[in-house]
Symmetry: C2
Subunit: 247 residues, 2 copies
Amino acid sequence: MSTAAIVIIGNEILSAKIADENGPWLTRELRALGVEVRRIETVPDEIPLIVDALHRAKSQAKWAFTSGGIGPTHDDVTIAAVAQAFGRKVVPERRILGMLEAHYGDRLNAARRRLADVPEGAHIDWHEGSWFPVISLEGVAVLPGPPLLFKEGFGRIRDRYRSAPLFGRAVYLALGEGEIAEHLDAAVAKHPQVPIGSYPRFDPGADYRVKITFDGRAEADVTAALAFVRALRHGLTERGHVLRPFA
Amino acid sequence: MSTAAIVIIGNEILSAKIADENGPWLTRELRALGVEVRRIETVPDEIPLIVDALHRAKSQAKWAFTSGGIGPTHDDVTIAAVAQAFGRKVVPERRILGMLEAHYGDRLNAARRRLADVPEGAHIDWHEGSWFPVISLEGVAVLPGPPLLFKEGFGRIRDRYRSAPLFGRAVYLALGEGEIAEHLDAAVAKHPQVPIGSYPRFDPGADYRVKITFDGRAEADVTAALAFVRALRHGLTERGHVLRPFA
């Protein structure tokens, strides 16, 4: 089962300076790759809290991703946290250090040297001319916070995650949740392998009252669960027509 | 110290059906009220994972908020999770049940009766004509997932959270992070009570290279830390001018 957890490292998000774009973007990418996202956690730039989030991520999912906290300044602690989470030392990676030396020459100060630091034994995806290495260790991929770099970094490694596709279908009903809850309970009991979601709308402009979603790895199961609910609706009140049968 | 944690309950977010709006919105609201958000966690509609997130939220912050998972259908498990997290029974709340009976009459089925369920001993903020109760227990406020209702619900209780203001300032530099990291280290050492953030920009349209932020409860401390960094810049290269001194 291909599952993932996302750890967003960002005082700037928790202090409302910016809204996180990387979590929602990566969630969509992973979904398209067939990877089920099990949790998204935003934590401060504090090593103990990042380590705790990484342990939880890896205990609940096959893959984990971090966003942010890599760079040369005092608030960039993600590399140290990933190393600590897996009991590794932080060591300079020779090839990255060589590229930094070639690029900066005399201007390669202590801060910039930190850009070559990796957890010992980490896998590096880098190429000349790129801004940063993508570091992977024990199924955790370390990505930078700025969305432009986050996307570029994930692009280098995305084929690693491609999995069996996830199927999703939806029906949109003019009925309220209270009128269909029992039918959904029956569908959940009959199709336990298909997570079923029920999402009401309350805003005045909505052209439906509830969206019912069906998800799964097996397309036939998803289709069968949806057909089961559609069949049940004949027993509902006449307001129970399907406004849009498939999304 | 007024701190908060946000728990977003939502398979629909983890499966990329929708992007969460409530977490970023509430983070901004809490910041404006002087409440420091310590974590935001998105978890599936699964009681054990919600209970775990609530325990973590309450161990790391004074206040906690949940978004989503309240309603009459099978996937609405937040009330049960909050009750379980604090060892309470789930019981029907008499006033809510009375209002549901008055509204639905004969159509008050088992599913709709669930709308009156609360953890035993919970505080209820409700008023006639509203769509849902806001349930609070042990510093946890339970809010609905649809953004329109989430905002309305928070509006009922927001004055509860007003605290001493948080101050924030920023400078925008034309220097890269590698050139200022040592100065920031000095500032962090001299002003430990002021969290300092360093946020580089890499997109071609940016009119600065790094934004340095200063946060704190005491305005004088924030101003002093910023002045310290501004003074240091005189020792930097001439590219180190401040593009926009205050944000």
